[in-house]
């Protein structure tokens, strides 16, 4: 069965330090992978995606993510965290070979707190 795991409920990072938000997935084929961010009482904003090609994907607000096929992971990273990065982050996956009618499978979300 297709699934996405975000093993950390919350991640705390000091401002200026690098951050990593973890995501692992399970799909039968080659996955399409996505990261979204949600600020309080707002809709989700698309950050970046991996479809094919370079394993390191760059996205909005200085975020990047690395696709690791052998570890079935797609961790979100940023070299230097800002207080304004504090938000809820969601990882999602789609199996393009699945009969999903373009649905995304969502992780449970990770709350990122950046402390000044």
């Amino acid at each position: 069965a297709q699934s996405v795991a975000q093993p950390e409920d919350q991640v705390n990072v000091a401002e200026g330090n690098p951050l990593t938000v973890k995501c692992t997935y399970s799909v039968s084929g080659n996955p399409y992978l996505f990261w979204y961010v949600q600020y309080p009482n707002r809709g989700l904003q698309f950050l970046l995606k991996y479809i094919t090609g370079d394993n390191l994907v760059k996205g909005s607000y200085g975020f990047e993510a690395e696709f690791n096929k052998s570890q079935t992971s797609f961790h979100l990273k940023k070299p230097s965290a800002l207080v304004s990065d504090s938000a809820l982050y969601f990882c999602a996956v789609r199996d393009p070979n699945g009969d999903s009618n373009y649905q995304l499978i969502w992780g449970a979300g990770t709350k990122l707190i950046i402390k000044p």
């Binding site: 979204y36 009482n41 809709g43 989700l44 969601f90 995304l104 992780g107």
Partner: protein
């Protein structure tokens, strides 16, 4: 460019009252449309999706229903709200041509059922 609208932004309704939430998309045609509910500011629950006018697929059996009367309009309804219907309702769209299909979200509606 494409935009997605939801209204109302907030809603407080008594138990047993009806519900109608509206979502419209601009700047694209034949989108896939989705209704999600988010409880307690965490995980997303897919409620309904639609790949075309009048075509609705339900993911979770409950007292909610959805309709798509026009290509870029998606409505979430209930005849009688329950306390458990409280939550943050998000509408999203994705490209209907099957390309990659990241979803783009509206601003959401905060529903409180009292």
């Amino acid at each position: 460019s494409q935009t997605i609208h939801q209204w109302p932004a907030t809603l407080v309704q008594p138990v047993g009252s009806p519900l109608s939430l509206e979502c419209t998309v601009e700047g694209t045609s034949n989108p896939n449309l989705y209704w999600y509910r988010q409880a307690a500011g965490r995980g997303l629950q897919l409620l309904f999706y639609s790949v075309g006018i009048g075509q609705i697929s339900s993911e979770v059996p409950q007292n909610l229903s959805a309709s798509r009367p026009q290509d870029r309009q998606f409505i979430l309804s209930s005849k009688k709200l329950l306390l458990s219907d409280s939550g943050f309702y998000l509408c999203a769209w994705g490209r209907g041509d099957g390309s990659y299909n990241e979803q783009f979200f509206g601003p959401g509606t905060r529903l409180t059922v009292l």
